[in-house]
Symmetry: D2
Subunit: 337 residues, 4 copies
């Protein structure tokens, strides 16, 4: 942490800044760097608020040198993490596809979808019991009644679900039935929920918030990791911008940027990232090319009758065609599917 | 709801669209409007997902004519709402100022802050027990130990607190001690928490999410209102943009826009909206001029030692000077302070 | 300029960085600040691209300490600038209102508008001859034929126009007839046009680009100032965000932020900043309260028949009412109108 | 164009709306669609401002049914366009790579770069004579002195340049020496320049503006096309968002979206799209996978000494490795390189 001082800063002001640092268990060292006076702070800076210094007299600017997250960082763990979901691996050398409906709606729908995506080669299922919906009047998910269906489908297909938890109660339920817990974009900074996920024995997929920076996303991962759960998968699903041609702006450029600083696997959700099923295959292929470790894709046996997200759901046929393309490309990117 | 059809749409396709509408208990009416064929849908459209139609063959575009929110809407209630917080009114003709520290840190700090803002004319106190922090290593709030302090300060000053709930447990605690519950920006789409707030007997302040549209914000209010709690106050606190000159971009333009469509009171948080205490007074005055019903302002007896948000906290003196300016202006805007 | 070095940087790498600095006529000074090694660079850094260093081995990050703009900066000129437009002053202590139609459409329309805004107390007229339009098929302005009209109206009313130049030819024409040249938001980084404006004898109003940072805006001002023209007025007109409730997001928070770093006057365009005439008066009052030096407002005698921007144009009556409110408030903000 | 009417609209108001439509040579047709009254307008709506109607009494909302651009649209030309740059084809079935330095700096630098990218398989050269720079104190390009160098390099390598024009004068110069004219992101709405480009005999590459929607981008193309120049190539180069991990947010999702509505070729600039040479190859591969028709890539023989954009320039070796990967993948996407 570097404190840049204003020109004309007094010795008393520098001492006050240094005293504040010592209160926070940091070691201050004033240096003159050319015309610029600086106080350098070393120690455990990752929980320190820059505001602790920026409001003090004589301070021009506070610069963080180290990222605030620790456990998600490559400084903490240089080698890539592979997350194991009941035998399905997510990480380097793999390209893991999780597919299925936005919501589990009925036995027929969920079973049809599961059979179809399994036949096409998906490694895991997706499907929500509890749907965070913008409007309180929209379909809110089948709820706990769907939990048995998840078990049934798993028994039949051998595939595990990644399913969203929207609060601590739903997390406790999902934990009993799913293979991986999803923290949705709207809950990426629901810190109570992240802490609860940190206590789970299941791997956790943390979707990027709609307006989250890379640093905030990795801080969210650190909430889970610091709770004792080392199995975190990141999922890019598009950010909110001024664009009107897509539901969200899929930020594939975050993949190489995140790779530099974190060891966690990163998958991509091209369904939310486009909001348009016709655009999903192009972005799924682009995600693989950009270096993603896998995909989260919406597939519905009858998108026109989906209770949520039908607009962005692939039909089983279209999904199957996309999987063929992905499998053909995977070796060029050193990925097994 | 209008379904614009593609040119060359077939009668069979129109019939399939109409059938889908009837399944959703809507009344379809195909019309030709110039060269454009349309199916108009009437009925209870506010919970209907446009995707229910957009994926059907022959559909060019789905246009929502009515906003999805109901209870927050002026169509539901034309007259402005006044929310009463234990005798403090928030709404037309008032300008209600809630001030105090970001976090309650200690008895001395909370008492000093409360005395100072009361002396300056604040109508309510702000102060958090549980702080949603981007990093798990930052100060997370004093927690439930601060609840007694809130009671003590209220007994001494007669002022009620608006305090943030971050999950259902903290809401249940805060409900016993505060005057109004705050739903923070990061939780604006934490629908479980909103539903719980809808069951509370206390008024609820819903802060706008960092990337929330006006429509999403009013949908969040509808989650609370539809739970049976009619006392909702909106709070604009800045949105996330590409700007680097401020922590957030305070969107005062949403005030006249929101006024047209909602009857709920709207207050402004210039502290988060700027992130810089030197800019707070200008934006507080601008908020009053733009038509706000009040302010939520951070004041700390010693901003340089604040455990959170010191950078944006006013000193008591600066707050007092700002209150004088606001009181001088209030009559010009028909506001009592 | 500070070059933060990677841990483990070699002496050879530091020497290469220093050598590069000397090539650029900068003075390098390596310092160790706590655990962090830094090379501080002093000299004329304002035209230096951080990329000159960031691609070198051993470099972790390049931090600019000083803003790249010079002449617009308070470091260059501490006292506020007042710009004089043929006797109309724009700057501290004044609140200068420029009003009129988006486009000059005809003698009758321009004359009616000029008479109306003069009667209401406007200090200058606005009105375009050349309109930058998103679509090539939209009305592009009356063009050079309107120049005579500007002279005629000036002779009759005594009011000067601020008028947009869209290229060097139109600037040369406008220079003969207007009181101030407007550089539009879409041309804020049309550097050839800015350089040409720097050669003009007329004051220049630089509108903020739709996605321009404060720093980029002041760099644009520096293009004009460094050409020898000291009379630059800044105009905030709203930025592009994800918002859908307004045409643009009016960023009033940039006023106190800009005041800290620049001496140039700042006016606000609430017409483009909202896109909705019903929202203009609230934002005009808020602009004054936030510290603006004046307004640029669209007024049209018959908004329903405007050839451009009718949606955001005030009627003369509504403008007159707004001017009364502004005049009543001005003394509280130390402004003469 | 659909005019949605307010409930309770009067017959007189509907007639006034219809009269306004007829003034604009449109044919109005009032229809009742369920509970919603609508006036549908047909005719040449693409130059019509919605504001012509939105300010009229009784109007609730104006909805554009057809895009405002014409010539760039698939409705105008269903089949994909192939642009021919002196024998190099850009369009379906090709993957055209344009590479070279940001700026032409010297004979040695330009020649080295040209030789290197030719050896690696590039089809065209990039390199600027005139650089639009945010700061007036930054290197502004070698200027017209570089024109001879372009001829020399072309004679030696047989490769044509794509070079940016920043105003009408520079366009006239570049036209004599380059193979394709580039309109930069900052000039995407410099309509005078676009019109001038429409008169050129050379193909024109229109880079997407930093905050341009798809519709605005295609309108910019229409400025060129409607001037009589049918050879327009679109270039996505990243948009401005809240992201801090990259210089711009590369919006690959616009490729499938644009394909649906326009017949023009689309290439991608991963250099500006990331701002970081280490991230360029991943995004170049992703661009091909997303359906791009080619790339515009910065390559510099010595990025650490580049006078502009060194941070995002590939070394010749890294470019060569990337070209090998692209060539290996091209057949899977039906592209010849």
């Amino acid at each position: 942490m570097l404190i840049l001082l204003k020109s004309g800063v007094s010795a008393t002001q520098i001492e006050a800044i240094s005293a504040r640092a010592r209160e926070l268990h940091l070691v201050p060292q004033p240096v003159r760097s050319g015309a610029q006076e600086i106080v350098s702070l070393t120690g455990q800076t990752s929980g320190i608020d820059p505001a602790a210094f920026s409001a003090l007299p004589g301070v021009a600017r506070v610069m963080m040198v180290h990222a605030p997250y620790r456990l998600a960082s490559r400084e903490f763990q240089p080698a890539d993490t592979t997350v194991d979901v009941s035998g399905v691996r997510i990480g380097p050398g793999q390209f893991t596809v999780m597919a299925g409906p936005c919501s589990i709606e009925s036995q027929a729908q969920a079973t049809d979808a599961a059979n179809a995506v399994k036949a096409a080669g998906a490694h895991m299922l997706r499907g929500g019991l509890f749907k965070p919906r913008t409007s309180p009047y929209s379909f809110q998910g089948i709820g706990e009644n769907g939990a048995g269906l998840m078990d049934e489908i798993r028994a039949r297909t051998g595939l595990r679900f990644v399913t969203e938890a929207i609060d601590e109660d739903s997390l406790s339920l999902i934990e009993q039935h799913a293979g991986m817990i999803q923290i949705g974009a709207r809950n990426m900074q629901n810190f109570s929920l992240l802490r609860r996920a940190g206590k789970s024995r299941l791997p956790v997929m943390v979707k990027r918030g709609m307006s989250a920076t890379l640093e905030e996303w990795l801080n969210a991962a650190d909430y889970v990791l610091s709770g004792g759960n080392p199995n975190v998968v990141l999922c890019e699903r598009g950010i909110r911008t001024f664009n009107t041609h897509a539901r969200n702006t899929l930020d594939l450029g975050i993949i190489p940027a995140a790779r530099e600083v974190t060891h966690l696997p990163i998958i991509v959700d091209p369904s939310h990232g486009t909001g348009n099923s016709a655009h999903v295959p192009a972005m799924a292929l682009a995600a693989m090319a950009a270096g993603a470790d896998g995909l989260l894709v919406e597939v519905h046996p009858d998108p026109g009758h989906a209770l949520s997200d039908g607009e962005q759901s692939l039909t089983p046929d279209r999904f199957n065609a996309m999987m063929k393309q992905l499998r053909a490309l995977a070796p060029a990117f050193g990925r097994a599917m």
